[in-house]
Amino acid sequence: MSRVRLLVGTRKGAFILTSDGKREKWDVSEPHFAGWEMYHLKGSPVDPNRIYASQTSGWFGQIIQRSDDGGKTWNTPGSSSEELAGPDGMPKGESNKFVYEGQVGSHMWYDGTQHPWEFKRVWHLEPSLTDPDTVYAGVEDAAIFKTTNGGKTWQELSALRGAKGHLWQPGAGGMAVHTIILDPKNANRIYIAISAAGAFRTDDGGKTWRPINKGLKAQFELPDPDAEVGHCVHRIAMHKSRPDVLFMQKHWDVLRTDNAGEQWTEVSGNLPSDFGFPIDVHAHEPNTIYVVPIKSDSEHFPPDGKLRVYRSRSGGNEWEALTKGLPQKDCYVNVLRDAMSVDSLQPCGIYFGTTGGQVYGSADGGDTWNAIVRDLPAVLSVEAQVLP
Protein backbone atom coordinates (compact mmCIF):
# COMPACT_ATOMS: atom_id res chain seq x y z
CA MET A 1 0.00 0.00 0.00
CA SER A 2 1.21 3.51 -0.76
CA ARG A 3 2.28 5.78 2.06
CA VAL A 4 1.87 9.51 2.53
CA ARG A 5 4.51 11.85 3.89
CA LEU A 6 3.78 15.45 4.87
CA LEU A 7 6.66 17.90 5.02
CA VAL A 8 5.67 20.61 7.47
CA GLY A 9 7.67 23.81 7.89
CA THR A 10 7.04 25.88 11.03
CA ARG A 11 8.37 28.93 12.80
CA LYS A 12 10.48 26.72 15.05
CA GLY A 13 11.52 23.70 13.03
CA ALA A 14 10.38 21.15 10.48
CA PHE A 15 8.23 18.09 11.13
CA ILE A 16 7.63 15.02 9.02
CA LEU A 17 4.23 13.35 9.35
CA THR A 18 3.78 9.88 7.88
CA SER A 19 0.86 7.54 7.40
CA ASP A 20 -0.17 4.55 5.35
CA GLY A 21 -2.59 5.00 2.47
CA LYS A 22 -5.62 4.94 4.73
CA ARG A 23 -4.40 8.22 6.24
CA GLU A 24 -6.04 7.52 9.57
CA LYS A 25 -3.05 7.11 11.89
CA TRP A 26 -0.06 9.39 11.66
CA ASP A 27 3.43 9.39 13.07
CA VAL A 28 4.85 12.80 13.94
CA SER A 29 8.63 13.20 13.86
CA GLU A 30 10.77 15.01 16.34
CA PRO A 31 11.59 18.55 15.18
CA HIS A 32 14.23 18.86 12.48
CA PHE A 33 16.34 22.04 12.70
CA ALA A 34 14.69 22.91 16.01
CA GLY A 35 14.48 26.61 16.69
CA TRP A 36 14.92 27.68 13.05
CA GLU A 37 12.25 29.09 10.79
CA MET A 38 11.55 26.46 8.15
CA TYR A 39 9.85 28.35 5.37
CA HIS A 40 9.40 25.47 2.94
CA LEU A 41 10.36 21.86 2.29
CA LYS A 42 9.63 20.06 -0.95
CA GLY A 43 10.60 16.73 -2.46
CA SER A 44 11.69 16.05 -6.01
CA PRO A 45 8.90 14.58 -8.16
CA VAL A 46 11.58 12.39 -9.76
CA ASP A 47 13.04 11.13 -6.49
CA PRO A 48 10.72 11.70 -3.50
CA ASN A 49 13.49 10.92 -1.04
CA ARG A 50 15.45 13.92 -2.35
CA ILE A 51 14.02 16.75 -0.24
CA TYR A 52 15.10 20.37 -0.24
CA ALA A 53 14.49 22.66 2.72
CA SER A 54 14.76 26.39 3.35
CA GLN A 55 16.06 27.05 6.86
CA THR A 56 16.29 30.67 7.99
CA SER A 57 17.06 32.78 11.01
CA GLY A 58 17.03 36.46 11.82
CA TRP A 59 20.43 35.92 13.42
CA PHE A 60 22.25 33.58 11.06
CA GLY A 61 20.54 34.10 7.72
CA GLN A 62 19.72 31.55 5.06
CA ILE A 63 20.62 27.86 5.00
CA ILE A 64 19.68 25.34 2.32
CA GLN A 65 19.39 21.76 3.51
CA ARG A 66 19.07 18.64 1.40
CA SER A 67 18.11 15.12 2.34
CA ASP A 68 18.70 12.15 0.05
CA ASP A 69 16.97 9.64 2.30
CA GLY A 70 13.48 11.02 2.82
CA GLY A 71 14.36 13.33 5.69
CA LYS A 72 16.30 10.91 7.92
CA THR A 73 19.56 12.81 7.45
CA TRP A 74 20.32 16.27 6.09
CA ASN A 75 23.30 18.13 4.66
CA THR A 76 24.06 21.61 3.42
CA PRO A 77 24.92 20.82 -0.22
CA GLY A 78 28.49 21.43 -1.22
CA SER A 79 29.87 21.89 2.26
CA SER A 80 31.82 18.68 2.66
CA SER A 81 35.52 18.65 1.92
CA GLU A 82 34.93 16.31 -1.02
CA GLU A 83 32.64 18.78 -2.72
CA LEU A 84 33.27 22.01 -4.54
CA ALA A 85 36.93 22.42 -3.72
CA GLY A 86 38.07 25.86 -4.74
CA PRO A 87 41.41 26.74 -6.33
CA ASP A 88 42.99 26.83 -2.87
CA GLY A 89 41.66 23.41 -2.03
CA MET A 90 39.04 24.70 0.38
CA PRO A 91 35.36 23.88 -0.11
CA LYS A 92 33.37 26.96 -0.94
CA GLY A 93 30.16 26.28 0.96
CA GLU A 94 27.95 28.34 -1.32
CA SER A 95 24.64 26.53 -0.95
CA ASN A 96 23.28 29.58 0.89
CA LYS A 97 24.88 32.17 -1.39
CA PHE A 98 22.06 34.03 -3.11
CA VAL A 99 23.65 36.99 -4.84
CA TYR A 100 21.66 39.06 -7.32
CA GLU A 101 23.13 39.07 -10.82
CA GLY A 102 24.76 42.16 -12.27
CA GLN A 103 23.74 45.62 -11.18
CA VAL A 104 21.63 45.06 -8.07
CA GLY A 105 19.17 47.79 -9.03
CA SER A 106 16.32 49.06 -6.94
CA HIS A 107 12.60 48.71 -6.37
CA MET A 108 9.94 51.00 -4.98
CA TRP A 109 10.14 51.65 -1.25
CA TYR A 110 7.25 52.51 1.06
CA ASP A 111 7.89 56.23 0.77
CA GLY A 112 7.95 56.17 -3.01
CA THR A 113 11.73 56.34 -3.30
CA GLN A 114 13.87 53.64 -4.86
CA HIS A 115 15.46 51.05 -2.55
CA PRO A 116 18.20 48.55 -3.44
CA TRP A 117 17.38 44.86 -3.61
CA GLU A 118 18.52 43.02 -0.46
CA PHE A 119 18.41 39.25 -0.12
CA LYS A 120 16.57 38.15 3.03
CA ARG A 121 15.43 34.54 2.73
CA VAL A 122 14.12 31.74 0.53
CA TRP A 123 10.35 31.46 0.73
CA HIS A 124 9.70 28.63 -1.70
CA LEU A 125 11.64 25.78 -3.30
CA GLU A 126 10.30 24.18 -6.47
CA PRO A 127 12.19 21.07 -7.61
CA SER A 128 12.27 20.32 -11.33
CA LEU A 129 9.71 17.89 -12.71
CA THR A 130 12.44 15.92 -14.49
CA ASP A 131 15.83 16.40 -12.80
CA PRO A 132 16.42 15.88 -9.06
CA ASP A 133 19.45 18.21 -9.12
CA THR A 134 17.53 21.17 -10.57
CA VAL A 135 15.52 23.38 -8.23
CA TYR A 136 14.07 26.87 -8.42
CA ALA A 137 14.07 29.12 -5.36
CA GLY A 138 11.70 32.03 -4.81
CA VAL A 139 13.33 34.59 -2.56
CA GLU A 140 12.75 37.85 -0.68
CA ASP A 141 13.51 40.54 -1.95
CA ALA A 142 11.66 39.20 -4.93
CA ALA A 143 13.75 37.18 -7.35
CA ILE A 144 14.05 33.65 -8.66
CA PHE A 145 17.21 31.56 -8.45
CA LYS A 146 18.06 28.19 -9.98
CA THR A 147 20.44 25.39 -9.07
CA THR A 148 21.40 22.60 -11.42
CA ASN A 149 23.78 20.82 -9.04
CA GLY A 150 21.55 19.76 -6.19
CA GLY A 151 21.69 23.04 -4.31
CA LYS A 152 25.47 23.52 -4.15
CA THR A 153 25.31 26.82 -6.02
CA TRP A 154 22.51 29.12 -7.16
CA GLN A 155 22.21 31.58 -10.05
CA GLU A 156 19.59 34.24 -10.42
CA LEU A 157 17.26 34.32 -13.43
CA SER A 158 17.64 38.06 -13.32
CA ALA A 159 15.38 38.99 -16.21
CA LEU A 160 12.42 38.65 -13.84
CA ARG A 161 13.44 41.81 -12.03
CA GLY A 162 13.52 43.51 -15.41
CA ALA A 163 9.76 43.05 -15.69
CA LYS A 164 9.07 46.50 -14.24
CA GLY A 165 10.87 45.60 -11.02
CA HIS A 166 11.52 49.25 -10.30
CA LEU A 167 7.75 49.60 -9.72
CA TRP A 168 7.41 46.66 -7.33
CA GLN A 169 6.80 47.62 -3.74
CA PRO A 170 6.85 45.35 -0.67
CA GLY A 171 3.65 44.66 1.22
CA ALA A 172 3.42 44.27 4.98
CA GLY A 173 4.73 40.72 4.68
CA GLY A 174 7.70 41.69 2.55
CA MET A 175 8.27 41.31 -1.18
CA ALA A 176 8.98 37.72 -2.11
CA VAL A 177 8.59 35.24 -4.92
CA HIS A 178 6.35 32.85 -3.00
CA THR A 179 4.85 30.78 -5.80
CA ILE A 180 6.65 28.93 -8.59
CA ILE A 181 4.68 26.70 -10.97
CA LEU A 182 6.42 24.63 -13.62
CA ASP A 183 4.39 23.78 -16.72
CA PRO A 184 4.42 19.97 -17.09
CA LYS A 185 3.78 20.19 -20.84
CA ASN A 186 6.20 22.99 -21.68
CA ALA A 187 9.59 22.94 -19.98
CA ASN A 188 10.24 26.56 -20.95
CA ARG A 189 7.12 27.94 -19.28
CA ILE A 190 7.20 28.96 -15.61
CA TYR A 191 4.68 30.98 -13.63
CA ILE A 192 5.65 32.91 -10.52
CA ALA A 193 3.85 35.21 -8.12
CA ILE A 194 5.04 38.03 -5.90
CA SER A 195 3.14 39.74 -3.11
CA ALA A 196 2.41 43.32 -4.02
CA ALA A 197 3.88 42.92 -7.52
CA GLY A 198 1.68 40.32 -9.22
CA ALA A 199 1.93 37.23 -11.41
CA PHE A 200 4.58 36.78 -14.11
CA ARG A 201 5.32 34.21 -16.79
CA THR A 202 8.31 33.14 -18.83
CA ASP A 203 8.01 31.13 -22.03
CA ASP A 204 11.74 30.76 -22.63
CA GLY A 205 13.04 29.14 -19.48
CA GLY A 206 13.57 32.40 -17.63
CA LYS A 207 15.38 34.49 -20.24
CA THR A 208 12.45 36.90 -20.41
CA TRP A 209 9.43 37.48 -18.20
CA ARG A 210 6.29 39.52 -18.44
CA PRO A 211 3.47 40.46 -16.09
CA ILE A 212 0.23 38.47 -16.50
CA ASN A 213 -2.16 40.53 -14.40
CA LYS A 214 -4.85 41.59 -16.85
CA GLY A 215 -8.25 41.30 -15.19
CA LEU A 216 -6.94 41.69 -11.66
CA LYS A 217 -8.62 44.55 -9.82
CA ALA A 218 -7.27 46.42 -6.81
CA GLN A 219 -10.03 48.93 -6.12
CA PHE A 220 -8.72 50.25 -2.83
CA GLU A 221 -5.08 49.18 -2.98
CA LEU A 222 -3.62 50.85 -6.08
CA PRO A 223 -4.02 54.31 -7.54
CA ASP A 224 -4.72 52.57 -10.85
CA PRO A 225 -6.85 49.50 -10.03
CA ASP A 226 -5.95 47.95 -13.41
CA ALA A 227 -2.19 48.52 -13.11
CA GLU A 228 0.08 46.13 -14.98
CA VAL A 229 2.10 45.39 -11.80
CA GLY A 230 1.50 46.05 -8.12
CA HIS A 231 -1.23 43.49 -7.44
CA CYS A 232 -0.96 41.50 -4.24
CA VAL A 233 -1.20 37.93 -5.46
CA HIS A 234 -1.22 35.49 -2.55
CA ARG A 235 -1.14 32.15 -4.33
CA ILE A 236 -1.63 30.45 -7.69
CA ALA A 237 -2.50 26.79 -8.31
CA MET A 238 -2.64 24.59 -11.40
CA HIS A 239 -3.76 21.07 -12.26
CA LYS A 240 -1.09 19.22 -14.20
CA SER A 241 -3.55 18.10 -16.88
CA ARG A 242 -4.49 21.70 -17.76
CA PRO A 243 -1.42 23.91 -17.48
CA ASP A 244 -3.15 26.85 -19.17
CA VAL A 245 -5.81 26.99 -16.45
CA LEU A 246 -4.68 28.70 -13.27
CA PHE A 247 -6.54 29.58 -10.10
CA MET A 248 -5.51 32.53 -7.95
CA GLN A 249 -6.15 33.65 -4.40
CA LYS A 250 -5.40 37.35 -4.44
CA HIS A 251 -5.28 39.66 -1.42
CA TRP A 252 -8.97 40.11 -2.08
CA ASP A 253 -10.70 38.06 -4.84
CA VAL A 254 -10.41 34.51 -6.14
CA LEU A 255 -9.77 34.38 -9.86
CA ARG A 256 -9.12 31.99 -12.71
CA THR A 257 -7.55 32.16 -16.14
CA ASP A 258 -8.11 29.76 -19.01
CA ASN A 259 -5.37 31.13 -21.22
CA ALA A 260 -2.17 30.98 -19.18
CA GLY A 261 -2.72 34.32 -17.50
CA GLU A 262 -3.58 36.44 -20.53
CA GLN A 263 -6.89 37.32 -18.90
CA TRP A 264 -8.18 36.65 -15.38
CA THR A 265 -11.82 36.44 -14.29
CA GLU A 266 -13.11 36.70 -10.77
CA VAL A 267 -14.77 33.51 -9.46
CA SER A 268 -15.30 34.48 -5.81
CA GLY A 269 -19.04 33.77 -6.16
CA ASN A 270 -20.75 32.99 -2.86
CA LEU A 271 -17.64 32.84 -0.64
CA PRO A 272 -18.25 34.46 2.77
CA SER A 273 -15.01 36.40 2.25
CA ASP A 274 -12.76 36.33 -0.78
CA PHE A 275 -9.69 37.34 1.21
CA GLY A 276 -7.32 34.47 1.96
CA PHE A 277 -3.95 32.96 1.32
CA PRO A 278 -3.80 29.36 0.00
CA ILE A 279 -5.59 27.86 -2.99
CA ASP A 280 -5.20 24.34 -4.31
CA VAL A 281 -6.63 21.96 -6.91
CA HIS A 282 -7.97 18.42 -6.39
CA ALA A 283 -5.49 15.84 -7.68
CA HIS A 284 -7.99 14.08 -9.95
CA GLU A 285 -10.66 16.69 -10.64
CA PRO A 286 -9.15 19.71 -12.42
CA ASN A 287 -12.23 21.82 -11.79
CA THR A 288 -12.37 21.15 -8.04
CA ILE A 289 -10.57 23.83 -6.04
CA TYR A 290 -10.14 24.72 -2.39
CA VAL A 291 -9.68 27.98 -0.48
CA VAL A 292 -9.79 29.01 3.18
CA PRO A 293 -11.66 32.32 3.51
CA ILE A 294 -10.17 34.77 5.99
CA LYS A 295 -12.23 37.64 7.38
CA SER A 296 -10.20 40.55 6.02
CA ASP A 297 -6.79 42.06 5.47
CA SER A 298 -7.17 43.72 8.86
CA GLU A 299 -8.33 40.61 10.72
CA HIS A 300 -6.37 37.55 9.67
CA PHE A 301 -8.67 34.85 11.03
CA PRO A 302 -11.71 32.96 9.75
CA PRO A 303 -15.08 34.74 9.63
CA ASP A 304 -17.27 34.13 12.71
CA GLY A 305 -14.56 32.08 14.44
CA LYS A 306 -15.39 29.11 12.16
CA LEU A 307 -12.59 27.36 10.32
CA ARG A 308 -14.10 26.43 6.97
CA VAL A 309 -12.48 25.17 3.82
CA TYR A 310 -14.53 26.11 0.79
CA ARG A 311 -14.68 23.79 -2.21
CA SER A 312 -15.86 24.57 -5.68
CA ARG A 313 -16.49 21.67 -8.05
CA SER A 314 -17.15 24.04 -10.94
CA GLY A 315 -13.83 25.84 -11.09
CA GLY A 316 -15.15 28.73 -9.02
CA ASN A 317 -18.25 30.86 -8.48
CA GLU A 318 -20.23 28.13 -6.71
CA TRP A 319 -18.70 27.20 -3.35
CA GLU A 320 -19.64 24.86 -0.52
CA ALA A 321 -18.39 25.03 3.05
CA LEU A 322 -16.47 21.99 4.32
CA THR A 323 -16.76 21.94 8.10
CA LYS A 324 -16.97 18.35 9.35
CA GLY A 325 -14.14 17.86 11.80
CA LEU A 326 -13.00 21.49 11.74
CA PRO A 327 -13.59 23.85 14.70
CA GLN A 328 -16.82 25.77 14.22
CA LYS A 329 -16.47 28.17 17.09
CA ASP A 330 -13.76 30.19 18.83
CA CYS A 331 -11.21 29.57 16.07
CA TYR A 332 -8.94 32.49 15.24
CA VAL A 333 -6.03 30.99 13.35
CA ASN A 334 -4.75 31.82 9.88
CA VAL A 335 -3.69 29.48 7.08
CA LEU A 336 -0.65 30.78 5.20
CA ARG A 337 -0.14 30.63 1.45
CA ASP A 338 2.21 27.65 1.29
CA ALA A 339 0.40 25.68 4.00
CA MET A 340 -2.05 23.67 1.86
CA SER A 341 -1.32 20.61 -0.24
CA VAL A 342 -3.06 17.64 -1.86
CA ASP A 343 -1.94 14.05 -2.31
CA SER A 344 -2.57 11.92 -5.39
CA LEU A 345 -4.16 8.91 -3.74
CA GLN A 346 -7.69 7.78 -4.48
CA PRO A 347 -9.68 9.43 -2.98
CA CYS A 348 -7.65 12.61 -3.00
CA GLY A 349 -6.20 13.73 0.33
CA ILE A 350 -5.99 17.38 1.25
CA TYR A 351 -4.02 18.94 4.09
CA PHE A 352 -3.44 22.34 5.62
CA GLY A 353 -1.58 23.80 8.57
CA THR A 354 -2.51 26.78 10.72
CA THR A 355 -0.72 29.54 12.56
CA GLY A 356 -2.06 27.86 15.71
CA GLY A 357 0.07 24.79 15.03
CA GLN A 358 -2.63 22.39 13.87
CA VAL A 359 -2.27 20.28 10.75
CA TYR A 360 -5.63 19.10 9.46
CA GLY A 361 -6.08 16.35 6.91
CA SER A 362 -8.92 14.95 4.86
CA ALA A 363 -8.71 11.57 3.13
CA ASP A 364 -11.93 12.09 1.19
CA GLY A 365 -11.43 15.22 -0.82
CA GLY A 366 -12.47 17.54 1.99
CA ASP A 367 -15.76 15.96 3.09
CA THR A 368 -14.39 15.13 6.55
CA TRP A 369 -11.35 16.39 8.44
CA ASN A 370 -9.19 15.31 11.34
CA ALA A 371 -6.43 17.06 13.23
CA ILE A 372 -3.28 15.08 12.48
CA VAL A 373 -1.40 17.08 15.09
CA ARG A 374 -2.56 20.04 17.16
CA ASP A 375 0.31 21.74 18.91
CA LEU A 376 3.16 22.42 16.53
CA PRO A 377 4.69 25.88 16.21
CA ALA A 378 2.94 28.16 13.71
CA VAL A 379 2.82 26.32 10.38
CA LEU A 380 4.42 28.05 7.40
CA SER A 381 4.20 25.31 4.78
CA VAL A 382 2.78 21.86 4.09
CA GLU A 383 3.75 19.59 1.20
CA ALA A 384 2.26 16.14 0.63
CA GLN A 385 4.18 13.29 -0.95
CA VAL A 386 2.90 9.87 -1.99
CA LEU A 387 5.47 7.11 -1.58
CA PRO A 388 5.33 3.66 -3.14
Partner: protein
Protein backbone atom coordinates in the same frame (compact mmCIF):
# COMPACT_ATOMS: atom_id res chain seq x y z
CA UNK B 1 45.58 27.03 18.59
CA UNK B 2 42.70 29.50 18.65
CA UNK B 3 39.65 28.51 20.68
CA UNK B 4 36.31 29.66 19.29
CA UNK B 5 32.96 29.36 21.04
CA UNK B 6 30.02 29.28 18.66
CA UNK B 7 26.37 29.95 19.53
CA UNK B 8 24.07 26.94 19.93
CA UNK B 9 22.53 26.99 16.44
CA UNK B 10 25.87 27.34 14.69
CA UNK B 11 27.35 24.48 16.73
CA UNK B 12 24.47 22.35 15.47
CA UNK B 13 24.98 23.53 11.92
CA UNK B 14 28.71 22.79 12.05
CA UNK B 15 28.04 19.56 13.94
CA UNK B 16 30.43 20.32 16.75
CA UNK B 17 30.09 20.24 20.50
CA UNK B 18 31.72 22.74 22.80
CA UNK B 19 34.53 24.90 21.53
CA UNK B 20 36.20 24.53 18.14
CA UNK B 21 39.95 24.84 17.82
CA UNK B 22 41.52 26.47 14.79
CA UNK B 23 44.98 26.81 13.34
CA UNK B 24 45.37 30.38 12.12
CA UNK B 25 48.32 31.13 9.88
CA UNK B 26 50.01 34.50 10.29
CA UNK B 27 48.54 37.36 12.23
CA UNK B 28 45.58 36.47 14.45
CA UNK B 29 42.92 39.03 13.63
CA UNK B 30 39.15 39.13 13.65
CA UNK B 31 39.17 38.51 9.92
CA UNK B 32 41.76 35.74 9.87
CA UNK B 33 39.98 33.79 12.61
CA UNK B 34 36.68 34.03 10.75
CA UNK B 35 38.43 33.00 7.52
CA UNK B 36 39.85 29.96 9.27
CA UNK B 37 36.50 29.12 10.83
CA UNK B 38 34.69 29.24 7.49
CA UNK B 39 37.39 27.22 5.76
CA UNK B 40 37.21 24.49 8.36
CA UNK B 41 33.39 24.56 8.55
CA UNK B 42 32.05 25.64 5.14
CA UNK B 43 28.46 25.21 6.33
CA UNK B 44 29.02 28.35 8.42
CA UNK B 45 29.75 30.54 5.42
CA UNK B 46 27.17 33.29 5.20
CA UNK B 47 25.89 32.73 8.74
CA UNK B 48 28.36 34.92 10.65
CA UNK B 49 29.31 37.24 7.80
CA UNK B 50 27.47 37.94 4.55
CA UNK B 51 28.69 36.17 1.46
CA UNK B 52 30.62 38.54 -0.74
CA UNK B 53 30.71 41.65 1.44
CA UNK B 54 31.96 39.71 4.52
CA UNK B 55 30.05 42.16 6.69
CA UNK B 56 29.09 40.90 10.14
CA UNK B 57 25.44 39.91 10.27
CA UNK B 58 23.50 42.44 12.35
CA UNK B 59 22.55 40.09 15.22
CA UNK B 60 25.93 38.39 15.54
CA UNK B 61 28.45 39.82 17.99
CA UNK B 62 32.14 39.15 18.68
CA UNK B 63 33.75 39.15 22.14
CA UNK B 64 37.23 38.43 23.47
CA UNK B 65 38.52 38.90 27.02
CA UNK B 66 35.26 40.63 27.99
CA UNK B 67 35.72 43.20 25.22
CA UNK B 68 33.07 43.72 22.55
CA UNK B 69 34.90 43.63 19.21
CA UNK B 70 31.77 43.57 17.05
CA UNK B 71 32.31 47.00 15.58
CA UNK B 72 36.05 46.66 15.04
CA UNK B 73 37.48 46.24 11.51
CA UNK B 74 38.56 42.78 10.31
CA UNK B 75 42.25 43.59 10.59
CA UNK B 76 41.92 44.11 14.36
CA UNK B 77 44.40 41.91 16.21
CA UNK B 78 42.91 39.67 18.86
CA UNK B 79 44.22 39.86 22.47
CA UNK B 80 47.31 37.82 23.39
CA UNK B 81 45.20 35.60 25.67
CA UNK B 82 43.17 34.50 22.62
CA UNK B 83 46.29 34.05 20.48
CA UNK B 84 47.85 31.77 23.11
CA UNK B 85 44.63 29.84 23.67
CA UNK B 86 44.20 30.98 27.24
CA UNK B 87 40.88 32.67 26.43
CA UNK B 88 38.29 31.77 23.76
CA UNK B 89 37.04 34.03 21.00
CA UNK B 90 33.28 34.26 21.40
CA UNK B 91 30.76 34.46 18.56
CA UNK B 92 27.43 35.32 20.12
CA UNK B 93 23.87 35.55 18.88
CA UNK B 94 22.61 38.92 20.10
CA UNK B 95 19.77 39.02 22.62
CA UNK B 96 17.26 40.32 20.15
CA UNK B 97 14.29 38.04 20.45
CA UNK B 98 11.79 40.59 21.75
Amino acid sequence: MIRVMLPYHLRNLARVEGEVQLEVAGSVTLGSVLDALESRYPALRGTVRDHGTLRRRPFVRFFACKEDLSLEPPETKLPEEVVTGKEPFLIVGAIAGG
